[in-house]
């Protein structure tokens, strides 16, 4: 394995590789390659409308990736987003049941619900010190079961056109693009918001917490609060994603299945380190776009449907392996886990 080089002797700036070492560059590169291959298969892809429909389909994943980013960068996991999305869509369908007048109240309710789920995830993880992978795994089961029990196993009711506007509609008659999807606007806004948030004091505290929650706590960060907020943000993002997905394709029984892993994959593909403290929102967003672009690529190539997972798996592993660099994240990881002084132990981290 690698050697940890003495801190003092190391200058990252001099490292020619350090330019690439962040996942951001890798994922950007990968995205470019994938787009290039798509272009060869389907030159028309980069004309407005196809691109826009790509954006519309990618938007929910982008939102989920952003939400997942907050949680992962704080050193946790959120496996519950998939079934949360599913639950939200089903709930919306049942409550709206085709009645446009109920659209807004239900939208509000969805946001509240997402917020509550995030809050529960966060508090159970931080206050009860349950590893987040277990917490959110539990929430995943609970949501999955509860919603189906509530709807008797299969979704009932249907979404109103108004509700579906966000995911399906857009601003018409935009030059070149044709229709500018609301989904794209929402995703872009969310991205901008996330970037701003990560520059804010909260974002910095979040980053520090994911990096070394003991030091963060010693600096006055309310670790439990920062982490819980991250889960809440994830829950909210999932809710918005649910609005987009439900809007995009209406309600089906399987909606949301497996989205949690796709989202985590996207984030990690962006070079965000599981375990926290490293990686940028933009990288996560690029990761989401890459994953979606891969799916598109497979279809564009008429890749046999059965082989697609294999290729997906290979590319993900290769990309992450490529982005992972020697010495990266080793040193800090070790230090975090040192017994150090007993005073460190009281601050039991809830990580995984």
């Amino acid at each position: 394995m690698s050697t940890t080089r003495p801190a003092a002797e190391r200058t990252p700036r001099r490292n020619p590789l350090s330019m690439l070492s962040g996942g951001t560059a890798t994922v950007a590169l990968l995205l470019a390659v994938v787009f290039a291959v798509i272009a060869t298969q389907n030159p028309s892809f980069f004309e407005g409308p196809p691109l826009m429909s790509f954006a519309r389909m990618a938007a929910p994943l982008v939102l989920l990736a952003i939400g997942q980013y907050f949680v992962i960068v704080s050193g946790e996991f959120d496996l519950s987003v998939g079934s949360l999305v599913g639950a939200q869509v089903v709930i919306a369908a049942r409550l709206i049941d085709g009645d446009p007048s109920r659209t807004l109240p239900v939208l509000a309710l969805m946001l509240v619900f997402g917020l509550v789920v995030g809050l529960v995830n966060g508090l159970v993880t931080t206050v009860l010190k349950v590893p987040s992978i277990i917490t959110t795994l539990g929430t995943m089961l609970i949501l999955f079961g509860a919603v189906r029990y509530w709807t008797g196993g299969a979704p009932t009711g249907e979404l109103s056109e108004a509700f579906r506007l966000a995911g399906r509609g857009g601003i018409e008659g935009v030059p070149f693009l044709g229709q500018l999807p609301y989904a794209l606007i929402i995703a872009a806004a969310a991205t901008a918001g996330a970037v701003w948030l990560m520059r804010s004091s909260y974002g910095r505290s979040l980053m520090a917490t994911g990096d070394n929650d003991v030091a963060a706590a010693f600096s006055g960060v309310r670790v439990w609060r920062v982490r819980t907020t991250a889960f809440v943000l994830s829950g909210l993002m999932a809710s918005v994603a649910a609005v987009l997905i439900g809007g995009f394709s209406g309600v089906t029984a399987q909606v949301g299945d497996g989205l949690e892993f796709t989202a985590i994959t996207a984030v990690v593909l962006g070079g965000v380190v599981l375990g926290g403290g490293r990686g940028t929102v933009v990288a996560a967003v690029l990761g989401a776009l890459t994953v979606e672009a891969l799916f598109t690529l497979f279809t564009q190539l008429y890749l046999p449907a059965t082989i697609q997972p294999t290729v997906q798996g290979l590319i993900i592993i290769a990309a992450v392996a490529y982005a992972s660099r020697r010495g990266d994240l080793r040193l800090p990881e070790r230090l975090r886990r040192r017994p150090g002084h007993p005073t460190e132990r009281p601050l039991g981290t809830s990580r995984r």
């Binding site: 940890t4 277990i134 079961g145 039991g348």
Partner: protein, 367 residues
Amino acid sequence: MTRSPVSPSLLDPRSLPTRIGTTALVYAALVVILAVSAVLVSAQGANLFTPANTVDLLTRSSLLGFLAIGMTLVILCRSLDLSVGYVAALSTVVAATVMAGDPGRIALGVGAALGVCALIGLANGLVVTKLRVNPFIATLGMGLIIKGYLDTNFQGPAGDVPSAFQVFGYARIGLLPVSTVVMLVLAAVAIWALARTRLGHHMYAVGGDAEVARLSGVRVATPVVTAHVLCSVLAGVAGLLLAARFGTGNALVYGNGYELEAIAAVVLGGTYLLGGRGGVAGTIAGVLILATLDTVFNVLAVDPFVKDVLRGTIVIAAVALYARGQLSRAAVRVRFPSGGTPPPEDPPDPPGGPSPRDPEPAVGGAR
């Protein structure tokens, strides 16, 4: 920090419970759950411990057991394996197709299946250790790769398991299903190996702190890779069990979310997800807990969707319980319990003095 010589665990009354702590806690939890379940069931006028239910419980536990034992090893090494479900599925089809209904080819089939699984485990281990891919992603990706292979080549049931081998799936000794016996034996072997082999010790070491292990001359990659190989092989065994019960190979079992269930069992068993602490004994208890729940749900004919809700809640609750236990293990020696014995000149708590209140969780966890 405490004054040191208070330390040696054997002599410190407080650390005795905490040393065996978690595992004991897990078995306590198991007993409690069994008791509660028994009551609930009998309230329904049924009996939880009828031979039928007992066998059912044990059978359920053996499959998950195989997966969870392997998962424990991997997690002890501070890794993770999300591909076990797919490996098990692959194992069923490989075994069944190789055996092709011919009792003479049983050994061959078992060998082939486990061999393939071992190779996959090796790949997982190498990708994690050499390419430094986060195990979460590495094994997730491996799962996808296998899924693609299965979807392409084995759509649905394939092969035929000779009835001679189905014994593994159905035969019992008294109330004890053969598969459960095998599972418990493997568990015992694992426990022994962890305690009595270098590799076992090194697994704890690497999981505890890879750098320390390395500087102590441990070849860090070896335990991790071995753990992954063993984990996949055990997943293979689980696959064999499935094949024996199905009488054929079925690729679709990868859809049953075995990996997450196994992780849940391991964590329920009190093994630390960040590695270096825990063991197989606890895991078995975790497995039994989950199996008990399933059986009870079945006996009580709980709505399948309510099952999920209950499962989720109980897992979280149980782990939260251990977390509480974990905190006490960090307890420092109390020098002045309850205000201790303040010397005369020491003023007692002034009225209106600060009243002890729970500190903020972030920093207060330890008391």
